[in-house]
């Protein structure tokens, strides 16, 4: 507290004028996760000769696709200031229900089965959407916090899965049903094709559709959205249905890949999905975020797990690194907002 010019004044002036360093920092903050993904790939390509093989790349993409599909649904929910903790359980529920329509096992199948794969898939997606609809009604109509409503659904859906399957796997799925997990289209594995399809549709919806505008408005300021004539409840309800439906799809891909639907499938999957969304720069406060960010977030998690696998690092470390990644990504984001 003296009258002399303190040295920090000079520093402040220097920081105020955008120099080379400041610009680099800005680019780093804006495209941080893309740069991180590219750097990680470059490092892995040098460290392991197996990384840049077609087989491994397809492998990474396939491993990322289930989490990616869940994360895309989660993006819609988080954009409206919500969260969906139930997706892991819905993966299992939709998996066992759909599988029971596509199973050739006499003990597990629904009477008269196996039914055509298409029917089983539609049923699986419907089960997921129905679970989402229940969460959606509880959140949108009864104003229960999303955290609580979907925490309840996490438990309910898991319980229903165990009740429906009797706690036993649903085995011996028909080859037609298994095609969505193990088949390919023009040489690209089906899970990747489906992930890509879901991504393109979600990207279009959020960037170019009326519903997308409404999602951003409801997340950014629900009061303003309401006064502007947007049906806030309907938008809130819809995002949980979307998340549930995509969880249903993911559950069937998982079952189809392994050949049987496990009642304990999908435990803690919601956490990886939320991680991908958050790493992708979507704000938990709602209204800000992109599905392209989520895509990159999901790929970053996938590449990291794959790289650590290739280098023979134990999977316990993968969890530690993933945790660091989540926190670092959000810290980066905060730093950017502060500057703006």
């Amino acid at each position: 507290m003296t009258a002399t010019d303190p040295p920090r004044t000079k520093a402040a002036i220097a920081a105020g004028e955008p120099g080379y360093g400041a610009r680099a920092a800005e680019i780093g903050a804006r495209y941080g996760i893309v740069i991180a993904l590219v750097l990680l790939c470059a490092v892995l390509a040098i460290a392991s000769e197996h990384f840049l093989t077609t087989r491994n790349i397809l492998n990474v993409l396939r491993q990322s696709s289930i989490n990616g599909i869940l994360a895309i649904g989660m993006t819609f929910v988080i954009l409206t200031r919500g969260i969906d903790l139930s997706v892991g359980s819905v993966v299992a529920l939709a998996g066992v229900v759909a599988a029971s329509f596509a199973s050739t096992s006499a003990t597990a199948m629904v009477g008269g089965g196996p039914y055509p794969a298409m029917l089983a898939i539609i049923i699986g997606i419907a089960v997921g959407m129905a679970s989402g609809a229940v969460s959606g009604v509880v959140v949108a109509r009864f104003a229960v916090p999303a955290f609580v409503a979907t925490l309840g659904m996490l438990s309910i859906a898991r319980g229903l899965t165990l009740l429906y399957s009797g706690g036993r796997p649903v085995p011996a799925l028909t080859p037609e049903f298994r095609w969505i997990g193990t088949g390919d289209l023009f040489g690209i594995p089906m899970p990747i094709v489906l992930f890509g399809l879901v991504f393109v549709v979600a990207w279009w919806v959020l960037a170019f559709s009326r519903f997308g505008r409404q999602v951003y408005a409801v997340g950014g300021n629900p009061h303003a959205a309401k006064v502007s004539g947007i049906n806030v409840r309907r938008v809130r309800f819809s995002v949980y249905v979307i998340s549930g439906g995509l969880a249903g799809l993911a559950g069937m891909i998982l079952a189809a890949r392994t050949g049987s639907a496990l009642p304990q499938a999908g435990v803690a999957y919601e956490l990886d999905a939320i991680a991908a969304v958050v790493i992708g720069g979507t704000s938990l406060a709602g209204g800000v975020g992109r599905v392209t960010g989520t895509l990159i977030g999901a790929l970053l998690i996938g590449v990291m797990n794959n790289g650590l696998d290739l280098m023979g690092v134990t999977s316990y470390y993968q969890m530690v690194f993933k945790g660091i990644l989540i926190v670092a990504a959000v810290m980066l984001d905060q730093a950017r907002h502060k500057r703006e």
Partner: protein, 492 residues
């Protein structure tokens, strides 16, 4: 020299190379109220945040009772006897009034908070100021106006010598504002210095002794308010001569456009009847809580139907949701720009298009081109100052933000405008443009319902005033019979 509590000279501050403050000059005498005037972007906020130690200066001096000071934090400023009542309220809702006032410096006895002493001290402070607030009430149970009064009490509890008040009356009705002015006068008598920031000129002339004007980040002039007229002050703030403060060129027609008959609404609106003709500007005037905003919420379908009839062009209508209201040609500019007017995470374009997504899309797909065109037209029509319509709306000044809200509603081509405090927190220049927009809308045959706490604005713009008291219509006054005294008398 000794009675100068605060002297500031040559204060400078730039952000990213853009000067927010080029030459801040100010001096505050003990026992005076000094108004700091200037439009949005004049550098007032930057000036105050440097004085309070929130931001660092690039240059210049601040002398506190003759002694040069640099504050590194608001805490240091407080320790040196400078306190601020901020424009944005920051109460902790789940705590009591006393806990909020003494937050972070609670009286402690034997290692635990002495609640009795704290409550007693807080109550004494509130009583002393004449504020009818109980120290043990929870903040969340208080009205916005009372929260504002608590913030004022809190600033005063530091026993500061210099008290900065940044738009302290913006959330207050006439009655609460009077209480606050009484408190300010008491402080003045005690020899304190008050820096008073407000866009409301009549208030400034009411309470302040002297003024300093900033424009474009620099000192323009200062002096005693007794030696300056209202128009001269406006000219200094705006930087160019103003012919008229208000613009009013509409002529009310004969046919009623909106008729409200025996309307009831939630939270205390009873049997309200009035009509607005084509081309007419009607002001709903009343104290806070007199039911003004509640009438708007009912008319816009935001609160449930509790009886009464609404007719538009003679046709009885049902309004159950904002969607109905929009379809019938109503538009509602809410009182709380940030709370319910704008999506602050969105850009200018998305905010302008928000109420008209249906017309700007084909099926489920938005037409990006139509959106861009709509935004461009509106930005031009309202003179919104934004480098690009893709900029975040949060970066605009208050006046431009308000124009974005108006633009959003004009895009829906409304016939009836509901305006709740449309010029709150907006500088004099932008205010005038908003008056122009309102006047033009009415001249083209639309009806305007205006709610304003600024009596001058009501007198300047309205063709007719419906005075509200306790949720009922207390009377109607036509333009020829209007005066500030009649309105205040009828409303109280």
């Amino acid at each position: 020299m000794s009675d100068l509590l605060l002297e500031v000279e040559g204060l400078r501050k730039s952000f990213s190379g853009v000067a927010a403050l080029r030459e801040g000059r100010f001096s505050l005498r003990a026992g005076s109220v000094h108004a700091l005037c200037g439009g949005n972007g004049a550098g007032k906020s930057t000036f105050l945040s440097i004085v309070m130690g929130i931001q660092e200066r690039d240059g210049g001096t601040i002398r506190r009772r003759g002694r040069p000071v640099i504050f590194g934090s608001p805490k240091e400023a407080l320790a040196n006897g400078i306190a601020i009542v901020e424009q944005e309220l920051s109460p902790i809702p789940a705590m009591t009034v006393a806990e909020n006032i003494y937050l972070g410096r609670e009286p402690v006895r034997w290692g635990q908070i002495n609640f009795r002493a704290m409550n007693r001290a807080a109550q004494a402070l509130l009583d002393d100021l004449g504020f009818a607030i109980r120290a043990t009430d929870l903040m969340m149970d208080l009205s916005v106006a009372k929260v504002q009064l608590v913030e004022i009490a809190k600033a005063l509890s530091y026993d500061a010598e210099v008290i900065i008040m940044d738009e302290p009356s913006s959330a207050l009705g006439e009655h609460e504002a009077d209480q606050m002015f009484d408190a300010i006068r008491t402080l003045k008598e005690k020899g304190k210095g008050i820096i008073y920031v407000s866009h409301r000129l009549s208030e400034i002339f009411d309470i302040a002794d002297s003024y300093t004007v900033f424009r474009d980040g620099a000192y323009v002039g200062s002096g005693a308010l007794a030696n300056v007229t209202r128009n001269e002050l406006i000219q200094m703030v705006v930087g160019r001569p103003l012919t008229e403060e208000f613009i009013k060129e509409n002529v009310p027609g004969d046919r009623p456009l909106l008729e409200v008959c025996g309307l009831h609404a939630e939270s205390g609106v009873f049997d309200v009847t009035f009509e607005a003709r084509h081309g007419e500007i009607i002001a709903l005037y009343g104290l806070m809580g007199s039911g003004r905003t509640e009438i708007f919420e009912r008319l816009f379908g935001l609160s449930p139907d509790r009886g009464g009839e609404i007719r538009i062009d003679g046709q009885a209508v049902r309004i159950a949701s904002p969607k109905d209201a929009k379809r019938l040609g109503l538009a509602y500019v809410t009182e709380d720009r940030k709370g319910s007017g704008l999506v602050l995470t969105g850009d200018v374009r998305s905010n302008i298009c928000l109420a008209e997504l249906g017309k700007l899309s084909r099926g489920p797909a938005m037409s990006t081109r139509a959106e861009a065109r709509a935004a461009r037209d509106m930005i031009q029509m309202f003179g919104i100052k934004a480098a690009s319509d893709r900029l975040d709306v949060s970066g605009l000044s208050g006046g431009n933000q308000q124009k974005v809200v108006l633009a959003k509603w004009f895009l829906t081509e409304p016939r009836i405008l509901l305006l709740d405090e449309p010029t709150r927190g907006v500088d004099v220049g932008a205010k005038r443009e908003i008056y122009r927009i309102i006047s033009e809308f009415a001249r083209n045959g639309g009806a305007v319902l205006l709610v304003s706490s600024e009596t001058d604005e009501v007198l300047g713009m309205a063709d007719r005033v419906v005075v509200m008291r306790g949720g009922r219509v207390a009377g109607e006054v036509t333009r020829s019979d209007m005066s500030a005294e009649t309105l205040v008398h009828m409303a109280a």
